[in-house]
């Protein structure tokens, strides 16, 4: 058969306890298989060769989107279901856009939100959006449950702080105040099926008087990990997004970035685009905030 993958065992697990115990028992050889759109590609390329894959796609706690003030998205929820969810689209627009930017429809019907975080690609499309939504990841491991702000999940390219046996159970997004809007912009060569040169997400909450009460800016593909550019958000807080405030935010976002040059484009271009897209994403987020 036309497969270059190593041989391995495959097992479906029915509960979270089973999953954690089995992963902790063999941290080097056993892997969680979510949508497989990263893992199976790495395996076909010979970059990974696990002895065993555990498939938790039927574990109920890992699936689905629910809402009780906080929005809870199970880690195994597929991108397509994130992107089409009415509440995600209306209140967490940047996330809906980030999910929509992942690969093709076919990829998004398999790719999971937890997998997009677990791979820890600096250029992944949902982390910048999740960062501006103040996402918290719920982890479960042999030592129990812990919750981390998403920004603390990453250690470096391809690396998370997950302990052996620890899995991402869900992503939780707090409710944003009224008059909040958000936006994600992906810059790439092609309109679909391409890795971001730069990804910028923004969230803006407007006060009664039309000034910015709170703002967040987050960046993808321009640092070893997805990054919240806190100073960029602070730079427009209290402003009416006048040109000077936007320019200050753009400067702050560029300063927070540490892009590299690669075959796709140069570091200088990436840094310049961080500035341009920060302004654009803040304006778009504010325009949505005005409507809500």
């Amino acid at each position: 058969m036309g497969t270059a993958m190593n041989a391995f065992d495959y097992e479906r697990v029915a509960t979270l306890d089973e999953l954690v115990a089995a992963l902790a028992g063999d941290p080097d050889g056993t892997r969680l298989l979510a949508g497989g759109t990263d893992l199976l590609v790495f395996m076909a390329d010979g970059k990974l060769a696990p002895r065993k894959l555990l498939d938790p796609k039927r574990v109920p706690e890992l699936n689905g989107i629910s809402h009780n003030g906080t929005l809870r998205i199970g880690a195994l929820t597929r991108m397509r279901d994130v992107e089409l969810h009415p509440l995600v689209r209306s209140r967490y627009t940047a996330l809906a856009q980030g999910a929509f930017e992942v690969g093709s429809v076919q990829i998004r019907h398999r790719a999971t939100l937890g997998g997009n975080l677990g791979t820890a690609s600096p250029a992944a499309d949902t982390p910048p959006a999740l960062l501006v939504h103040d996402a918290v990841v719920k982890l479960r491991g042999p030592d129990g449950v812990r919750k981390l702000p998403l920004g603390e999940l990453y250690r470096g390219p391809g690396q998370t702080v997950l302990a052996p046996g620890e899995v991402i159970v869900a992503v939780k997004l707090p409710e944003h105040p009224a008059r909040t809007g958000s936006w994600y912009i992906k810059l790439a060569t092609r309109k679909a099926m391409d890795i971001a040169f730069v990804g910028v997400a923004a969230r803006v909450t407007l006060a009664e008087d039309g000034r910015v009460a709170e703002a967040r800016v987050a960046l993808g593909a321009v640092a070893p990990v997805p990054l919240l550019a806190a100073e960029a958000g602070a730079a427009v807080t209290g402003s009416r997004l006048e040109d000077a405030a936007l320019a200050a935010a753009a400067e702050a976002a560029m300063a927070a970035s540490s892009p590299i040059s690669d075959k796709r484009c140069s570091a200088e271009y990436r840094r310049a685009m961080v500035g341009v897209l920060t302004k654009r994403a803040l304006r778009q987020a504010a325009a949505l905030a005005e409507k809500r």
Partner: protein, 154 residues
């Protein structure tokens, strides 16, 4: 590692198939079951030639293990026509010249079916977005888009 006998529900019937855990759904369909409609273009999720529907969702069968599909309903291009004739999308692709060499066509038609099942009257932009994961090196896409539009109106 060991070979195992699994049962896949394909095009409405249960079919037995011997696979390894690493056997991709694409290989189980093509080599195990002789359903060669799904094609291998790239083998890594880029081209869409291997698209089939699993529980109604269009997926790349080169990026799914056969064992993952146990218990699911699989539809391949072979299952689309009925005793009464071709599916309207198949008719439309023929009528509007939506294919030349035909390599991309099974995946293209199944991706288009998933699109129309979800959105019966898509705009041209929605059709192009829905088919962004299916590459065609022959047609230039315009005739494919026209075929899908025609099928949507039929």
């Amino acid at each position: 590692m060991a070979k195992q006998l699994i049962s896949l529900r394909v095009n409405g019937s249960e079919r037995d198939c011997v696979v390894e855990p690493r056997t991709r759904l694409l290989d189980a369909l093509r080599e195990g079951l002789g359903l060669t409609g799904a094609k291998e273009g790239c083998g890594n999720g880029e081209c869409g030639a291997c698209t089939v529907l699993v529980d109604g969702r269009p997926i790349n069968s080169c990026l799914m293990l056969a064992v993952e599909a146990v218990g699911s309903e699989i539809l391949t291009i072979e299952g689309l026509a009925t005793r009464d004739g071709l599916h309207p999308l198949q008719e439309a692709f023929m009528e509007h010249g939506g294919l030349q060499c035909g390599i991309c066509t099974p995946g293209m038609i199944l991706a288009a079916k998933a699109l129309l099942d979800e959105n019966p009257k898509p705009s041209e932009a929605e059709i192009r977005a829905g088919l962004a994961g299916n590459l065609c090196r022959c047609t230039g896409y315009t005739k494919i888009v026209e075929a899908v539009q025609a099928a949507a109106e039929a």
